[in-house]
């Protein structure tokens, strides 16, 4: 049962299993474990990022395609839902699904077109072309400001059931009222869980193995009779669709879309980093990496404030640990993690078990 749920791709390391179970449990119970806006927001962001990163890993880690356009698809999903919901005052579920459907169709079309035209060229050129396409898309989003809200983005409300004001039951459950926020969280959580399991299945299917073969040696895969272009385009499309769905979930959660939040190049670099920290081509790397990274991104500042407070007397160190310099340390972590986890955290844990 578990085996088929996880598509026979078990963690293969006791430490890793433990970590994964912990993360799953924490995310599943987050609304009952923590109070306050920020922790829950962090949990929801982790859920969405796990899926976003896992879908990117399908491209990068399994198929060997370097794309910089992944956030574009994430953005399309988010904007699809966002624009549909902000076009009306009292949005309903049909607005959500209509927006989502349009976004998915657009994603499919764009992923196909980009794949058909650009996947023929060398890897590094593909990366650059997707970078250009994504940049043009941002320009477009900014130019169509009447429609997209331009640089400022759009704030919108969500269907009744999900809005913060809504309460399902009079009574509290485990000391927490069942309100719209909580329901939204679980929509996000289960949505992401399903998408992740789907991706896990894809990479462990015969199809997934062909993708790996293409990554390893495209020339030979072709000689074995696999139409590699076809497989690469499919991988591109699947990854794009999943990213769009992740974007839609994020939009529902944030009730906001904007270029920085859903299209920015920063998100792309975050994704890249998480993939590498977690472990490329492992899927579980996305889980561990996203959790660590999002936690660091949200709480590194607080941690540093404590550290620099404690080191008040020491002049230089306190300055370097000043919370506003958190990016400095994130950068250092960037470098160190690539240094010390050349095969990612998951790879490292699995190696330790063997060695």
């Amino acid at each position: 049962m578990l085996n088929s749920l996880l598509s026979a791709d078990l963690p293969r390391s006791r430490a890793l299993s433990l970590v994964l179970v912990l993360i799953l449990a924490a995310l599943a119970c987050a609304p009952f474990l923590v109070t306050g806006a920020r922790p829950l927001n962090t949990a929801a962001t982790i859920c969405v990022y796990i899926v976003l990163v896992a879908s990117y890993d399908l491209l990068l880690g399994y198929t060997g395609i370097v794309s910089f356009a992944h956030t574009m698809f994430y953005g399309i999903g988010a904007y699809g839902v966002g624009i549909a919901l902000s076009s009306v005052d009292e949005p309903t579920w049909s607005h959500v699904f209509a927006g989502l459907a349009i976004a998915l169709v657009l994603t499919l079309a764009l992923a196909l077109v980009v794949g058909l035209f650009a996947l023929r060229v060398r890897a590094i050129f593909y990366a650059m072309i997707t970078l250009a396409v994504a940049a043009s898309f941002s320009v477009l989003a900014s130019q169509l400001s009447d429609f997209t809200g331009g640089e400022d983005g759009k704030t919108f409300s969500v269907p009744e059931l999900l809005s913060p004001g809504f309460t399902l039951a009079e009574n509290e459950v485990f000391g927490r009222s069942i309100d719209g926020k909580l329901i939204t969280y679980y929509v996000v959580f289960f949505g992401c869980l399903l998408l992740f399991l789907f991706l896990l299945r894809v990479v462990n299917s015969p199809f997934g193995r062909v993708l790996q073969a293409i990554r390893e040696n495209e020339f030979r895969a072709e000689a074995l009779g696999y139409r590699t272009m076809f497989y690469r385009i499919w991988a591109n499309v699947i990854a794009a669709l999943v990213a769009a769905l992740a974007g839609a979930l994020m939009a529902l959660w944030l009730r906001y879309v904007g270029p920085k939040t859903s299209l920015g190049f920063e998100i792309m670099t975050d994704i890249l980093l998480i993939v590498v920290i977690g472990g490329m081509g492992t899927m579980y790397g996305a889980v561990v990496g996203a959790t660590l990274f999002i936690l660091a991104q949200n709480y590194l500042k607080e941690l540093m404030a404590h550290a620099s407070g404690a080191l008040e007397g020491v002049p230089l160190l306190a300055a370097a640990l000043h919370p506003d310099r958190w990016m400095l340390w994130l950068g250092v972590l960037f470098v160190l993690s690539v240094y010390f986890f050349p095969v990612g955290i998951v790879g490292k844990l699995r190696l330790r078990k063997r060695g």
């Binding site: 109070t35 920020r38 331009g150 640089e151 983005g153 906001y256 904007g258 939040t261």
Partner: protein, 372 residues
Amino acid sequence: APDLKIALIAGKTGVLESYAKETETGFMMGLEYLTGGKMEINGRKIKVIVKDDQGKPDLGRTLLAEAYGDDKADIAVGTTSSGSALAMLPVAKEYKKVLVVEPAVADEITGAKWNKYIFRTARNSMQDALAAASTLKSGSIGFLAQDYAFGRDAIKAGKQALAATGSKATVVHEEYAPATATDFTAPSQRLFDALKDKPQPRVLAIVWAGPNPMNKIADMKPERYGIALAPGGNLLPIMKTWKAYAGTEGTIYYYYGFPKNKMNDWLVSEHTKRYKAPPDMFTAGGMAAASAVFTALSKVPSANSEQLVTAMEGMSFETPKGTMTFRKEDHQALQPMYHFRIKKDQKNEWDLLELVREIPAKELPLPVTNKR
């Protein structure tokens, strides 16, 4: 009594870092000045919680919710980026707490997206535009702006402002350049071509967020065609590079040498003492926001939101720019602006501008655009 908690949200890291630093400095110095260094209002200690939204709207929103919900802040101030500020507005309404917007300038904050908990000490784009328009009485105007929503809105505001101030000048050309542009040869040429045969005086007005391309255009010698440049005021380090273009006129929100009042005198002397440089635009803005918060909390010791809103509507408060007043209709602080000229003989590295005229608030017919 429990502490009074004030949340200050700013884009302290990321591209707007230098702006946010100024706001924070100004805000803290403002409280220091107003409380006489005691950091108390009516005997209650003030606690300022500073948060960094990195200029990201989603983060701004979450931080404001955290400030109101988890930190139990009584009032909040922020933020640097207009996008983030706009995203924060509904949160104030959700939590029914006051948000003083500083220094974001988007008109919509006190326009379409406004709600009754929103007050703004910063000037808005329209006020900038009106000030600029009030110096352009006749002749031909060409606009240069960035090609995105902000730039286009600014020029729309500029044209409205010309109409509102009764200017007889005609806008002969609007030029939009990519926001990332580095080479201004092509846009300048287009503007020169459009302006050169039009009636005098010919003015090329530049509306640009971030480092202003004034130098690049001035280097192409617009005076060949009798065209004068009208830059909007900018940060001090940017205006420092303008000294070769002495005599150029424009309008600005704040320059440390212009206002004459006690608060500004203190700010200039203390700031120069502490940071070896005079205060800049956003420092003054931060101090103005501090003053608004201080004045309001002094009037409503309980910090009850509804009472605060009532007290703040129409409230006047002292700032480094002199007295500002929150207009009842849309809670925008009405304030003076300054018409400047770049100095020829500069006494020191920060002696950059001379005052042509202070434009009093009543000469700036700011329309009310929110739906109340």
